[in-house]
């Protein structure tokens, strides 16, 4: 057990002015909101890019402003923004920052100043990223995977400056994440309040904690890959550049290995999937438990599943490279490790279902999103087994099946959790309640819409329709019906796109006009709902840190007066 109550004696950094309170803030809650707003802001750019892509795919030729180079730039920037600058930043920088200290009973992160720096580095990385849209040649169009040699060769949009801003931005992001990640890990290990043992922590904290550890191990691979490619591009080195032809001439580069980059990229890239997924797994577990009024089923199994998934995710990266030209015998190992990871993942799904089973399910908006997540995650997880199963991947790789799979599993699913989590914690964060009807309309359009978008894409992929194509053109095996499907998918995508306006309106309107929220509107047992103030004040806990006597999932305990027992409630002789 970490030292705890002694923290009370440590002076907190107290803000003295509006600027130190809200701009150069060292309060984890303000930093969380800064992170979240920046992430959602840049996420909106990615959303607009996806709408532009769908316009081109659904109605090729109808928008002459969208040319092949623009299209590839939209594809690349959409992917990178969503994966790194939205999902990672929002789940770890946003939710991680907000929830960790409150859920473990700390007054703040252990390094508040570094935490502040983390945000400002993140903001800088976003600014450099956005600068890519304004440099000569525009942002990179090399795909979000940035594979060399094309990323820095003629024939790829943004190979002059767009790739430079992208790589520099990624390097800054990794620096920002390292500062944040070290903070999250240290805070969880060192700043838990009295009684908050590791095995009493809510699964949200477990998910964020494990993802942070993974990030600290995985992001350096991306960092070195980015720096090496910058050298290749700006200093003429040949880390990733073989002798090749470019614009009719032989390049002076020699001996570099494009596959080396792919290994580095995916050594980061696959854990990255789980860096996004594990916080979402944790958060959704808490949402389901609270709104089903039932303890999370198999808590210890859930914790171990998170840890095992985190560890195994470092052993599966080359399943992105089955047809990359690497030694094909790797396929046996990586297919096996990839399919093994499905077992702890399946256990998580079972335990979510078994938490609902025999529960007292309140179908409030956050719960609806959590349920939708279970559905989309089952779908996306299962389609992953096709792609992990090496030989089955051969016909499907680089087709729309891949697009459908990863959007379902790491696009739609975490985003549904994020929506659920925002609806869930909004009353605590802002002390106001959102509009229920708007929330439900937003849920229904989003949930049904995304399924209409991505279900047909699996089938287009099985047919063989390739991804990252500006236009399908005249291709014998692609019937007219595919073009029709593309048009309908685009219509669904645009409807979902517009429906997000409801969410933003609801959140912003409720901030000013929403009714005052109850400090614990859902009757949740975990610590963040037991703060003396709502929204929690600087320092979170008033005069004295809370003391924890039980796990975070005492719902509907037999013999208890209410259907939940807060973690701060001492055990009585009844044992309840």
């Amino acid at each position: 057990m970490a030292t705890t109550l002694a923290d009370d004696l440590r002076p907190l950094h107290h803000p003295h002015s509006w600027v130190t309170r809200y701009v150069w803030s060292q309060d984890h809650k303000v930093i969380a909101i800064q992170y979240s707003c920046t992430a959602i802001g840049i996420g909106l750019v990615a959303l607009v890019l996806s709408a532009l892509m769908r316009l081109q795919l659904g109605f090729p030729g109808a928008f002459p402003a969208i040319q092949p180079d623009n299209y590839l730039q939209f594809v690349s920037m959409h992917g990178m923004i969503m994966v790194v600058y939205l999902l990672t930043a929002l789940l770890l920088g946003g939710f991680g920052n907000y929830l960790i200290p409150l859920m473990i009973g700390a007054r703040d992160m252990v390094f508040p100043f570094v935490n502040m720096l983390s945000y400002w580095f993140y903001l800088l990385s976003v600014i450099v990223l956005v600068a890519g849209f304004f440099v000569p040649g525009g942002p990179t169009g090399a795909g979000w995977t940035l594979y060399p040699p094309q990323a820095i060769s003629e024939g790829t949009p943004g190979h002059q400056w767009g790739i430079v801003t992208m790589l520099v931005s990624l390097a800054i992001f990794v620096a920002a994440f390292t500062m944040g990640g070290l903070n999250y890990v240290t805070t969880v290990l060192q700043a838990r309040t009295k009684g908050m043992t590791l095995m009493r922590m809510p699964l949200s904290v477990w998910g964020i904690f494990t993802a942070s550890v993974m990030g600290l191990l995985a992001f350096p691979a991306l960092f070195v890959a980015a720096i090496m490619m910058l050298f290749d591009h700006l200093a003429g080195t040949s880390f990733f550049m073989p002798t090749m032809q470019s614009m009719g001439a032989i390049t002076p580069t020699e001996g570099g290995s494009p596959l080396l980059f792919q290994h580095l990229f995916w050594f980061f890239g696959h854990p990255e999937v789980y860096i996004v997924a594990l916080p979402a797994f944790g958060i959704v577990s808490d949402l389901i438990s609270v709104h089903a009024r039932r303890n999370i089923f198999g808590y210890r199994m859930m914790v171990w599943a998170i840890v095992i998934i985190g560890a195994l995710s470092f052993l599966v990266w080359a399943h992105h490279m089955y047809v990359s030209g690497m030694n094909p015998y790797f396929g046996f190992f990586f297919a096996t490790s990839t399919l093994i990871i499905a077992i702890p993942t399946a256990i998580k799904v079972y335990n979510w279902l078994l938490t609902l089973w025999r529960g007292d399910i309140h179908l409030r908006v956050p719960m609806l999103f959590a349920i939708a997540f279970i559905f989309t995650f089952i779908h996306g997880g299962l389609s992953g087994l096709f792609l992990g199963n090496v030989s089955v991947d051969v016909p499907l790789s680089d087709t729309f099946f891949v697009v459908a799979h990863f959007h379902m599993v790491m696009g739609v699913s975490p985003v549904l959790v994020i929506f659920g989590a925002i609806y869930h914690w909004y009353p605590k964060i802002f002390g106001r309640m959102w509009n229920d009807t708007l929330g439900k309309v937003h849920f229904w359009i989003t949930f049904l819409g995304v399924y209409a978008i991505f279900l047909p894409m699996h089938y287009l992929g099985i047919l063989g329709v390739p991804r990252r194509y500006y236009a399908l053109g005249e291709t014998a095996f692609i019937p007219q019906s595919v073009h029709l499907a593309n048009a309908w998918i685009s219509v669904a995508a645009l409807i979902v796109f517009c429906a997000q306006g409801l969410f933003f309106f609801n959140m912003i309107w409720s901030l000013f006009r929403g009714p005052r929220a109850d400090p614990n509107p859902w009757g949740a047992a975990s610590l963040e709902w037991q703060t003396p103030d709502t929204p929690p004040a600087h320092g979170n806990w008033g005069a004295k840190l809370p003391v924890v006597y039980r796990w975070a999932y005492d719902y509907s305990v037999p013999g208890a007066a209410r259907d939940f027992i807060p973690q701060t409630e001492p055990r009585t002789e009844l044992g309840a």
């Binding site: 009024r293 297919a335 499905a342 077992i343 279902l353 007292d360 559905f375 087994l385 199963n389 019937p479």
Partner: protein, 294 residues
């Protein structure tokens, strides 16, 4: 309640979509039926899990939904932190399912990585944004080649000093012809960036990586003309990088092959100036030694 109905309807809808949608695999034209069957096994196991888990979800949402107090009876959740035996059983059956789909997957991969000895070697060369091909000629051996040898007259970069290359048949930006029923090892080489040789009807595909030679193999089983696409993003012309493969009976294939030009003929017809550029390139030692494909 509506969400339970929606989940159930989505399950039914997905199954119906699977059964009635017009999009499924293209008719197979190669020996890779084992890949198709591995996909089928994976699909059936996954479909069972998808239907089972989601219908359980829908049923649970109906059965255990919150209901207001009725005649003093309050619906209350069951308190049960864990059930080790249930979790163990679920883990066991999941592992069985996983093994069930992994086995055919790995078995098919085992074939994919073992090229039969009798397979003839044919080279496909990618560049932004077109396909070219090379056949080994009567000696059955592809001559050494590398991007450093490329000149106007030697588009595929064959080493002019390698005698094995003289009889190689060069098909620049033309169609690939394959005889039906004969195994071919397709070796892949890129002159510039990454590409991927992709014929949906063959099922097989593989990336072209500049600097190394990659390969895969197949046996065409159906005559006809199929599209070759590029499946690895290679720049603005990626979607337009097309070729055609013609699978024909051995006689037609031999007739076609007899009409093609060999590298020796190209050299013979090249003007002396072009020839000297070729030789200078071949002797230049500033670039690394080329790799040869035998």
């Amino acid at each position: 309640m509506p969400v339970a109905v929606a989940i159930a309807m989505l399950v039914v809808g997905s199954v119906a979509f699977h059964l009635f949608s017009p999009w499924w695999r293209t008719p197979i034209a190669s020996n890779w039926g084992s890949i198709d069957s591995a996909l089928d096994v994976t699909l059936w196991i996954c479909a069972a899990a998808f239907v089972g888990l989601n219908l359980f979800l829908a049923w649970t949402l109906v059965k255990y939904r919150h209901r207001p107090e009725y005649r003093g009876l309050r619906h209350k959740a069951h308190y049960e932190p864990e059930n080790a035996s249930l979790e163990k059983r679920l883990t066991f059956w999941t592992a069985i399912g996983i093994a069930g789909m992994l086995a055919p997957g790995l078995a098919a991969w085992g074939k994919y990585v073992s090229v039969p000895h009798e397979a003839t070697v044919i080279e496909a060369v990618g560049q932004q944004w077109q396909w070219s091909f090379r056949y080994p000629g009567p000696d059955g051996v592809l001559g050494a080649a590398g991007v450093k040898f490329v000149t106007q007259d030697n588009g595929l970069g064959l080493d002019p000093l390698d005698p094995y290359g003289r009889d190689d048949i060069v098909v620049e930006s033309g169609d690939l012809h394959l005889p039906i029923g004969k195994s071919v090892k397709i070796v892949l080489r890129s002159k510039d960036v990454l590409h991927d040789f992709y014929v949906p009807e063959f099922r097989a595909k593989m990336d072209l990586v500049p600097g190394i030679v990659t390969y895969f193999w197949l046996t065409p089983t159906k005559t006809g003309t199929f599209d070759i696409l590029c499946a690895e993003l290679c720049g603005t012309g990626h979607h337009a990088m097309r070729g055609k493969v013609v699978v024909e009976d051995p006689k037609a294939f031999a007739r076609w092959q007899a009409q093609q030009t060999s590298f020796g003929q190209i050299l013979a017809e090249a003007p002396p100036a072009a020839m000297s550029i070729l030789i200078i390139k071949a002797n230049a030692c500033s670039t690394p030694a080329s790799w040869s494909i035998r």
